[in-house]
């Protein structure tokens, strides 16, 4: 392998560990129940169980908090409030200083933590919390974006991207359209709720086991709350029982509270939120209100567009600025917008602070433009697919995004053509039209929607990763990196990369828990970047060790560097070979260092937020889906009849794992857009805070026919790890086709009319309301 290939992350041609459908490294342990999650760690002697008391109003001021009965409750060991914190009372991830660990006086949302209790058992802690007497002066609350905009209540200043002269372009267009779309939020509903266990160590140090996507941030926030340096805190994460963005920032508060009580009592402390508390007190996907005005020609080509995105961010900034930025970055989805203005309003409300969720604003941005395209098609009486194709990014003159990045890797024209053919889109669309003519109650709809999703953190400095690789004397290998495992298969993918580079089998690699003492200053495992970045960092570490081994081998055996090959568990020196462990032992005896750190920083990317220009993404991930649905126009009930997906994962590191991401992402997206409804009452309390009322897709909701394929020609143009592409988030947005198809089914009731204004989630209730406002039947 030449050094250029190494830099590009390309394969050594002889080894075949990558690009294989290896099973998840923990699959057997998951299936036997042997896999250890935080709540399964054997509880240490003297463990305290922690619960917190929450506010019961959306906005108010604490007049008095009487916790005497809580403290006196038998079994209670410690009670803390904001006044008891040794360090800083803040967990804001971007240092906006607007999110307290425990409320110091002003309550900002229903469910905010006010005080915390540690007791000998969980039951005692929960009972004790109920005994608090809290006197609150209620204040007027802002509960929706309309009121927030009226009061100019922001978590971050409004932001604008603009290119060309959209107002003039819209005015001069032959056709115009305007409208509004409301999108609901989404609860992550990771099956394993938020959980942390903190163990005090000597000298005031703290060890924390947490279910977190971001151990480094958790380490920093625990240290900050304890008033200590980061080096006093160690965080370990072996695995999460699902996360989806919900454990990027949202795990921190609970880890900090457990650590505070462990520090105060000198005893280990564990907190595990029950499901209702988890849903009430942790952030979710941002609801959006999207308004649009667009001008287009007779082919449906957009000439000018003005998009207005208002996001309900909740009580604090959290990650809302980059999330709403990403919504702007995806307001074009796959389409060239010649003259464009995108405005974003980041509304501060008295609701739980919304946060990262798979797609990170991208899904909301895309929903806006896909609605626009469907609207244009309805107005012109065209097949929406024709309008989509007419607007796709093309060659010179039609390849610049609203943020001035050139789209160089667009595969959608080809991919969508392949999908339209394999799914028989055109034929089925005609069949559906015929079916709808003769079926009075049941109506069907079909839609093909594309996804173009930008890969890289848009905050450029986050695009760095580290790894640590040791080779032990017996040739076995210890692998550690900054990425966390939440079920997505990151650990096995990186292990495949390492095994491949050393030319050994996967059984030689020990996958180890993410640990702040092994790899420091890591970014969250987020933005779909896990395998791109950690795979490259691990490869960098392996290549350092290999370089030393090659130097040693050439010196000892007098062979040329290019004759040394690592493959099939052997190290070849021309015609001769020895086993990998034999070489390692020889190298050890000759005092060769067999351990290395690895590092990676994503190349090429930059972004100037002031001018909204740059190249925020290294590349784009692409895909498309065709969904056929059926609705009952008397009840609003709906089901997905068939889905066809074609998705570009570049050269897949692990096709089975990638397929799992595509299928799971699609179904999760379909849940967001159909069944999952967050319902707040007029006092700002969430009323759908358990799976009894918040409906996650079940086995019966999965499409009857579900054809998922990885796009065969896929290869990343950019030098990513083995030319693969990120796959965590993009497939979620394939589910936009579900919502679009439902709207097509509703539209069939009033042919030739404007597109129905179906909001999301498209619950039976909303579908019925939409049918009624469409005037039929």
């Amino acid at each position: 392998m030449s050094s250029d290939d190494v830099m590009k992350g390309d394969s050594s041609s002889m080894n075949t560990v990558v690009h294989q459908s290896t099973t998840h490294d923990s699959a057997a342990r998951h299936a036997t129940g042997e896999a250890v999650y935080v709540d399964d760690i054997r509880e240490p002697v003297g463990l305290l169980h922690v619960c917190f008391g929450a506010s019961s109003c959306a906005h108010g001021r604490i007049r008095q908090m009487d916790l005497s009965r809580v403290k006196a409750f038998p079994g209670v060991v410690a009670v803390i409030t904001a006044q008891d914190l040794p360090g800083l009372n803040d967990i804001s991830p971007m240092h906006t200083m607007d999110e307290e660990i425990l409320c110091s006086g002003e309550i900002h949302f229903h469910g905010q933590a006010l005080f915390a209790v540690a007791a000998d058992c969980r039951d005692t802690a929960r009972r004790a919390v109920q005994l608090a007497e809290i006197d609150v002066e209620e204040l007027p609350a802002i509960l929706d974006v309309e009121e927030a905009i009226r009061q100019k209540s922001w978590v971050a200043e409004p932001h604008e991207m603009k290119r060309g002269n959209p107002a003039r372009a819209i005015e001069q267009s032959a056709y115009r359209l305007q409208g509004e779309l409301q999108l609901g939020g989404q609860d992550h509903f990771y099956l394993e709720g938020q959980v942390s266990m903190a163990l005090p160590q000597e000298g005031g140090d703290m060890l924390v086991y947490s279910s977190s996507q971001h151990p480094s941030e958790l380490q920093h926030l625990v240290a900050q709350a304890l008033g200590r340096a980061d080096h006093a805190v160690t965080v370990e994460v072996r695995r999460m029982g699902g996360a989806f963005g919900g454990k990027e920032t949202q795990a921190a508060q609970w880890a900090v509270i457990a650590a505070l009580l462990a520090d105060r009592t000198g005893r280990p402390a564990k907190i595990r939120l029950d499901r209702d508390t988890d849903m009430i007190s942790t952030g979710k996907r941002h609801p959006f209100r999207i308004r649009y005005e667009v001008g287009f020609d007779e082919q449906g080509r957009i000439e000018g567009i003005d998009l207005n995105l208002a996001a309900l961010c909740g009580m604090s900034a959290d990650l809302s600025a980059p999330i709403t930025d990403r919504a702007m970055f995806h307001s074009d989805n796959a389409y060239y917008l010649p003259h464009v203005r995108i405005r974003s309003y980041r509304c501060r409300t008295n609701t739980v602070s919304n946060t990262a969720f798979r797609g990170f604003g991208g899904p909301q941005g895309m929903m806006g433009i896909e609605r626009v395209i469907d609207g244009i098609a309805a107005q012109l009486g065209k097949d929406p697919l024709a309008v989509r194709r007419a607007n796709l990014y093309g060659g010179e003159g039609r390849n610049i995004t609203p943020y001035h990045m050139k789209v160089e890797d667009n595969v959608l024209p080809e991919l969508m053509a392949d999908l339209a053919e394999s799914s028989a889109y055109t034929h089925r669309r005609k069949e559906i039209a015929a079916f709808n003519l003769q079926s009075t109650v049941i109506k069907r709809g079909i839609s093909l929607t594309p996804v173009k999703f930008g890969i890289s953190f848009t905050t450029s400095f986050l695009n760095q990763a580290g790894a640590l690789v040791h080779v032990y004397k017996d040739g076995s290998i210890h692998l550690n990196h900054g990425g966390t495992e939440m079920g997505q298969g990151l650990f096995i993918k990186v292990a495949q990369v390492v095994a491949d580079a050393f030319g050994v089998g996967l059984e030689q690699i020990k996958i180890t828990a993410t640990h702040t003492g092994q790899v420091p200053n890591t970014s969250a495992t987020a933005a779909s970047s896990g395998s791109d970045m950690n795979g490259m960092a691990a490869l960098n570490a392996v290549n350092k060790i290999k370089k030393r081994l090659v130097r040693f081998t050439t010196k000892k055996y007098g062979v040329e560097e290019e004759d040394v090959q690592f493959t099939q568990g052997q190290v070849w020196m021309g015609e001769q070979s020895m086993t990998f462990p034999e070489l390692i032992m020889e190298a050890y005896l000759e005092r060769v260092s067999l351990s290395a750190t690895g590092y990676y920083r994503t190349p090429k990317i930059w972004y100037d937020r002031e001018t909204a220009r740059g190249r925020p993404f290294l590349y784009f991930a692409y895909g498309a889906a065709v969904t056929e649905v059926e609705i009952d126009t008397l009840t609003g009930e709906n089901r997905i009849r068939r889905v066809d997906i074609l998705h570009d994962v570049g050269r897949s590191l692990n096709p089975a794992i990638d397929r799992g991401q595509i299928e799971g992402g699609f179904v999760q997206g379909a849940g967001w857009l159909t069944t999952e409804e967050l319902w707040w009452d007029q006092s700002g309390a969430l009323r759908t805070h358990a799976p009894s009322t918040y409906k996650i897709p079940l086995s019966g909701d999965v499409p009857e026919e579900f054809n998922v394929a990885i796009w065969e020609p896929g290869v990343n143009r950019e030098p990513t790890i083995h030319r693969s592409k990120a796959v965590g988030e993009p497939p979620l947005m394939l589910a936009i086709s579900v919502h679009s198809a439902i709207n097509q089914a509703i539209a069939s009731l009033a042919p030739g009319q404007a597109l129905p204004a179906l909001d999301a989630p498209a619950t039976p209730e909303r579908i019925l309301m939409c049918i009624q406002s469409s005037g039929k039947p």
Partner: protein, 161 residues
């Protein structure tokens, strides 16, 4: 609170435990017997992560009181493989088919599947979907799980188990 001493058979072993009357079967398994393969998901009987077999029938152990299990037989994920070293055909199929992502729903999902195949060795796809209708999976989109159960059914038929 008073405790009751109960006897029950867990994965083939007779156990005698002192339990509070409000202790759930899930707490008994996880906290007292350290059988942590059974997971706490929602605590309200809606997600199925805590599914175990009580006298051979699947129950949500978070909604079952420990005292209800007195003199009865419990099978958990730790107890379905007949030998300590090999996987049960359903476990094997879940691993091979990639029916597992984060793994948190997996033990409960497998318990529901094991019960299905014991009572209906040759289920249709629709029967499979119905049998796991009380088990939420947030990661996989269910397709691979359904495939795994179909595969396990075929494997069991083939091996005459």
């Amino acid at each position: 609170m008073n405790t009751h001493v109960i006897e029950l058979i867990v994965n083939g072993d007779l156990r005698e435990v002192a339990v509070r009357p409000n202790l759930t079967l899930l707490q008994l398994l996880r906290d007292h017997l350290r059988l942590t393969g059974t997971k706490h998901g929602c605590g309200t009987g809606d997600c199925g992560a805590c599914t175990v077999l009580l006298d051979g029938r699947p129950v949500n152990s978070c909604l079952t009181l420990a005292v209800e299990a007195r003199n009865r037989t419990i099978t958990t994920i730790e107890g379905i493989s007949t030998s300590g070293t090999t996987l049960h055909p359903v476990q094997q199929a879940f691993v091979e088919k990639g029916a597992v992502q984060c793994g948190y729903c997996t033990p409960g999902m497998i318990m529901s599947s094991v019960h299905l195949l014991r009572t209906n060795p040759d289920p249709t796809e629709s029967e499979i979907r119905h049998a796991i209708g009380g088990n939420i999976c947030r990661c996989t989109g269910y397709t691979k799980i359904i495939e795994a159960i179909e595969t396990a059914a075929r494997a069991k038929k083939g091996s005459g188990q």
